[in-house]
C-alpha cells in the first residue's frame, strides 16, 4: 500500500515537472551564422530559447541538458522579418465603401485566423506583420500589428488600433460616379472625384474634429479617433505615391501640426531632402518595374529603381514592405533588389527587421535577436540577400511554425 502511495506521489511530481518543463521548453539553435541585426554577425552562433523568449545568444552559449537542438550548421539565423505593410490575412474586403471617411474602421475585426495568406507570410519569413486598411477611402481606419499564428484574432494581435491611415492622391476617387445604367441613389455618387477634393475633404475632417474637440453633444467614435490623431496620440500613416501628393501630405500635416509616416512614396526620390527635413519614416512598397495602377489616373508611372537608396542616402529612415500586395515580390527579394539598385546592404536588412519594429512600436519584443526578446527567428539556407537562399525554418515565440520540405 505504501509503495503504491509513493508511486502515485512520484507520478504526480513527474507530471507536474513535465508540464513545467513543457512551459519552460528549452530550444537551442546552432547556426552556421547568426545575424542579430542589433550587433555584429556571429559565426557558429547559438541561440538559446526558453519559454518563448531568447535566453541567450552568442558563440559560446551553454546548451542545457534536455534542450531540443535545432541543427542549422549550414544555415543563417536572423530575426523573423517585420512587414510594416504586410499581405493581409483577412476576410472580405478592407474598404468600407459606404463612406469615404471611416476613421473608426478597425482592421482587427476582419482578421481571419484561417486565412491562406498566413502561410504565405510565414513561408517568406515574416513573423510580425502590420495589417493596414484598404486604400480606397480617404481616411480608411485603424490597422493592427499581429503575428501570423494563433487560433483566434485575439491570440494573433500584438497591438490593436496601432495607426490611422489616410490615402492621398486619386485612389479614393475610384468609382465615385454614377455607374452606367444605375440609379443616382447608388452610394458611389459622391465626392471626391478629383485630387483637389481629396485634400479638401481631409482638411474638413480635421477641422470638424477640432470643432468636436471643443464641444459636442453626442459622442462620435469617428471623431474621437481624429481628435486622438490631432493630439499626436496615434501614429498617422499617409499613403502618397506622386511627389505632388507627398507635398500635399506635408502641407496638410504642417497646417495641423502633425507628424506623419509616408506609405508607398513611389516618387520619394524626387523630394528626398523634403522628406528628410520632416524626419519622416517612409514605408516603401509594393515594388513593380512598371508600377501598378488600378485606376485611370496612371499614378506613380515615373519610377526610379533606386528610390530606397536615394532616400536612405538623404538620411531618411526607410522601411521596405510588401505593400499589402500578395502578387508582389516577397520581403527578402524586395530587400535583395533594393541593394542591387543601390541601397546599402546593412540598411536593407534593417529595413525589414528593426526599423519597421521601431516604427510599429514593438521593437521591445521583435526586430532583433537579443536576450529577452521574443524568439521569432528565421533560418535560411544561405545569406538573406542571395536569391539562392531558401527559408528553411521559421519560429514564432520559440515554436517552429514553418519548416521547408526536405
Amino acid at each position: 500500500m505504501r509503495i503504491h502511495r509513493v508511486l502515485l506521489i512520484l507520478l504526480l511530481i513527474s507530471a507536474v515537472a513535465a508540464s513545467a518543463a513543457a512551459q519552460d521548453q528549452v530550444v537551442a539553435i546552432k547556426a552556421g551564422k547568426v545575424l542579430p541585426v542589433s550587433g555584429e554577425p556571429i559565426d557558429k552562433g547559438v541561440i538559446l530559447i526558453k519559454g518563448g523568449k531568447i535566453a541567450g545568444i552568442g558563440p559560446n552559449v551553454t546548451i542545457p541538458e534536455g534542450a531540443t537542438v535545432i541543427d542549422a550548421a549550414s544555415g543563417v539565423a536572423m530575426p523573423g522579418l517585420v512587414d510594416a505593410r504586410g499581405v493581409r490575412p483577412i476576410r472580405g474586403e478592407l474598404n468600407e465603401q459606404s463612406d469615404e471617411m471611416t476613421p473608426a474602421f478597425h482592421v482587427s475585426l476582419a482578421i481571419d485566423p484561417k486565412s491562406k495568406l498566413l502561410k504565405h507570410n510565414l513561408q517568406s519569413g515574416v513573423t510580425t506583420l502590420y495589417v493596414s486598411p484598404g486604400g480606397e477611402n480617404i481616411i480608411s481606419g485603424l490597422g493592427a500589428v499581429l503575428k501570423p499564428v494563433g487560433k483566434t484574432a485575439t491570440e494573433m494581435i500584438v497591438k490593436d488600433d496601432a495607426a490611422l491611415h489616410i490615402t492621398m492622391g486619386s485612389d479614393s476617387t475610384y468609382g465615385n460616379d454614377i455607374p452606367w445604367n444605375s440609379p443616382p441613389t447608388n452610394f458611389y455618387y459622391r465626392r471626391p472625384g478629383t485630387t483637389m477634393a481629396v485634400a479638401w475633404m481631409l482638411r474638413k475632417s480635421f477641422f470638424d474634429a477640432q470643432k468636436y474637440a471643443e464641444a459636442h453633444k453626442q459622442p462620435n467614435p469617428a471623431m474621437e479617433v481624429l481628435v486622438t490623431a490631432l493630439k499626436g496620440g496615434i501614429p498617422i500613416r499617409m499613403a502618397a505615391r506622386r511627389a505632388i501628393d507627398i507635398r500635399t501630405a506635408f502641407r496638410i500635416a504642417d497646417e495641423y501640426g502633425l507628424k506623419i509616416i509616408l506609405d508607398e512614396c513611389t516618387e520619394g526620390y524626387k523630394v528626398p531632402e523634403l522628406i528628410a527635413s520632416k524626419q519622416t519614416t517612409v514605408v516603401l512598397g509594393p515594388f513593380y518595374y512598371y508600377p501598378h495602377t488600378f485606376n485611370q489616373y496612371s499614378e506613380g508611372r515615373e519610377c526610379n529603381w533606386n528610390n530606397a537608396g536615394i532616400l536612405a542616402k538623404a538620411g531618411v529612415k526607410v522601411v521596405l514592405s510588401c505593400g499589402a500586395d500578395p502578387d508582389a515580390a516577397d520581403l527578402l527579394t524586395v530587400a535583395t533588389f533594393a541593394v542591387r539598385h543601390g541601397m546599402p546592404a546593412d540598411l536593407a536588412i534593417k529595413a525589414i527587421t528593426v526599423t519597421p519594429a521601431e516604427l510599429l512600436g514593438v521593437a521591445d519584443r521583435v526586430g532583433t535577436l537579443a536576450e529577452g526578446k521574443d524568439a521569432d527567428i528565421l533560418i535560411l539556407s544561405g545569406e538573406p540577400l542571395a536569391s539562392t537562399s531558401r527559408v528553411q525554418r521559421v519560429l514564432v515565440n520559440g515554436r517552429t511554425v514553418y519548416q521547408a520540405e526536405q
Binding site: 491562406k116 502641407r251 518595374y289 533606386n306
Partner: protein, 449 residues
C-alpha cells in the same frame, strides 16, 4: 564678262592649264580619301570597331557545355568562337584585339524560348490565323527589347499570344536593332497553337474547331494534289497556287515547323499530346502554372516544356485543409523533364532569367541544369543551338560579360556581345543611369501654395 581673280576664272569654268603642283595636290587628296574610306566607316560602327579577331581574357568562363574555366581565354574570329581554354593553353594571335575582362564572368547570352511581349497586340481576333507572322508586328522601339538586352538576353523567340487557336508563326530576334531586319536571327520558327478556349465557348468546341480545321486542310491538300496529278496526266499546264494561308500548317504537318502548344490548365496537356501524336508533330509545350499536375505524363512522353514565369504555386490541399507550396521547376526536374524558363517583365525578381534559374536552384535544382534552362535548352527548343546557348568552338560568339556570378543578385550585365560585336555596354546605358541615380536638382520653391 570681266573676271577679277583667277579663282573666279576657275569657278566660271575658264581654267588655265592645270599647273603640275595642282595635279599632285589632287592625287594626294584622292589617295587620302581612299585610305580614309577604308578605315573610317568601320570606326563609326555602333559600339566601336568591328574587329575580325578578338581575344577575351576572362577571370571566369562558364561555357555551359563543359567545365568552368578560371582565368581563361576565348578567341573569336569573324564572330565565331575559334578557341576556348585556360589562358596558358590558348595562343592569342598578334593581330587580335584583346578585351581585358579579368574581373568579369563570361557566359553564353541568355535565350528566351517564348515571349509574346514586344508586339503591338499578341492575339488576333479570329481563331485560325496560322498564316500570320510576328515578324510583321515586332515593335523594335518597345522598352521590352531594350530591357531584355540590358538583362543579357541575346536571342528570343517571339510568338503570337496564348489566346488564339492557331496564332501564327514566330520570329527569333536579338533584342537590338532599329528595324526587325536588324534584329533578325531566324524567321519562320515555330507555330503557336493555344488550347485555351477563349474564342470558343468551351473546350469541347475548341478541340472540335481544331479537328475540323485539320480535316478541311487534309481534304484541301488531297484535292489539290489530285488536280495537280490530273493536270500532269493530261499534260496540261498547272499554275494553281497552293493556298498560302494554309502553307504554315502544311509545313507543320511535314515537320518543317515546330508546334508551340499553350496549355492553360493541366487537363489541356493530354489534349496537346493527342494532337502531337495524331498529327505526328514536333512540339514544345508552353505551360501555365497549373500544369505541374501533369508532370508525370509529360515526363512519360519526353516532351520539352517552357514553364510559366510563376514558378511557385500555392495549392489548397482539400483533405488536410492546408496550403501546400508547389515549386514547379522542382517538380519537373524531379520527373526528369527538360524545361526552359520564362520571364515576367513587370515583377521584381521574375523579370530576370537568372532569377528564375536562382529560384530553381534555391529549391534544390542542380546549378548547371538550371543555367542550361536559360541558355542551351531554350536554344535547342527553338532550333538555334548551332549558334546560341553555349561557348564552344565553331559556335557564334553570343556572349554576356557579367560583373559576378550569374545567380548572384548583385551581378549586372556589363557587356553583351552578338556575333563578336559589342552591342550593349552598361557604362553607356543612359537610361539605366537615369533609373538608378538621383535626378538633377531643381530649385526648391519656398511657397508651393
Amino acid at each position: 564678262m570681266k573676271f577679277r581673280s583667277s579663282m573666279a576664272l576657275r569657278v566660271a569654268g575658264f581654267q588655265p592649264a592645270i599647273r603640275r603642283r595642282d595635279a599632285f595636290d589632287t592625287w594626294a587628296c584622292l589617295l587620302l580619301c581612299a585610305l580614309l574610306a577604308l578605315v573610317v566607316p568601320p570606326c563609326l560602327a555602333y559600339g566601336g570597331p568591328v574587329r575580325k579577331k578578338i581575344a577575351i581574357q576572362a577571370g571566369r568562363i562558364i561555357p555551359i557545355t563543359g567545365a568552368e574555366i578560371k582565368d581563361g581565354t576565348i578567341l573569336i574570329d569573324d564572330g565565331i568562337v575559334k578557341a576556348i581554354g585556360k589562358q596558358n593553353d590558348v595562343t592569342v594571335p598578334w593581330d587580335a584585339f584583346v578585351i581585358e575582362a579579368k574581373d568579369k564572368v563570361i557566359m553564353p547570352g541568355f535565350v528566351l524560348a517564348h515571349t509574346s511581349d514586344g508586339l503591338d497586340t499578341p492575339n488576333e481576333n479570329l481563331p485560325e490565323v496560322p498564316f500570320l507572322s510576328t515578324f510583321d508586328s515586332i515593335d523594335p522601339p518597345s522598352p521590352f527589347y531594350e530591357d531584355s538586352l540590358r538583362d543579357g538576353v541575346v536571342a528570343m523567340l517571339v510568338l503570337p499570344g496564348n489566346y488564339t487557336l492557331l496564332g501564327g508563326t514566330g520570329t527569333v530576334v536579338t533584342p537590338h536593332g532599329r528595324t526587325v531586319e536588324d534584329m533578325l536571327v531566324k524567321r519562320y520558327v515555330g507555330l503557336k497553337i493555344s488550347l485555351a478556349p477563349i474564342q470558343s465557348t468551351s473546350r469541347m468546341g475548341h478541340m472540335q474547331r481544331f479537328r475540323r480545321y485539320m480535316d478541311d486542310l487534309k481534304e484541301y491538300r488531297e484535292k489539290y494534289d489530285q488536280r495537280k496529278k490530273d493536270a500532269e496526266k493530261d499534260k496540261k499546264p498547272f499554275d494553281e497556287e497552293f493556298d498560302p494561308r494554309k502553307q504554315s500548317m502544311v509545313d507543320l504537318l511535314d515537320g518543317k515547323l515546330k508546334a508551340f502548344i499553350y496549355c492553360a490548365v493541366a487537363a489541356d496537356v493530354p489534349k496537346a499530346i493527342e494532337i502531337i501524336e495524331t498529327y505526328k508533330l514536333q512540339a514544345v509545350l508552353v505551360l501555365s502554372p497549373d500544369c505541374y499536375k501533369a508532370a508525370p505524363l509529360i515526363a512519360e512522353k519526353k516532351l520539352p516544356v517552357i514553364l510559366d514565369p510563376q514558378l511557385v504555386v500555392w495549392h489548397t490541399n482539400e483533405e488536410k485543409n492546408e496550403e501546400e507550396m508547389k515549386v514547379v521547376p522542382q517538380i519537373f526536374n524531379r520527373a526528369g523533364v527538360k524545361f526552359a524558363l520564362q520571364t515576367d517583365t513587370s515583377s521584381y525578381g521574375r523579370r530576370y532569367l537568372w532569377y528564375q534559374a536562382a529560384t530553381a536552384v534555391k529549391h534544390g535544382m542542380n546549378r548547371d541544369e538550371a543555367l542550361k534552362s536559360i541558355t542551351l535548352y531554350p536554344a535547342q527548343f527553338i532550333g538555334i543551338d548551332d549558334r546560341f546557348g553555349s561557348i564552344e568552338k565553331d559556335k557564334e560568339a553570343n556572349l554576356i560579360f557579367l560583373t559576378g556570378d550569374p545567380l548572384d543578385a548583385q551581378t549586372w550585365v556589363d557587356k553583351v556581345m552578338r556575333a563578336g560585336e559589342i552591342v550593349y555596354e552598361k557604362d553607356k546605358d543612359e537610361r539605366l543611369k537615369k533609373l538608378l541615380e538621383k535626378p538633377r536638382e531643381k530649385p526648391e520653391h519656398e511657397n508651393t501654395d
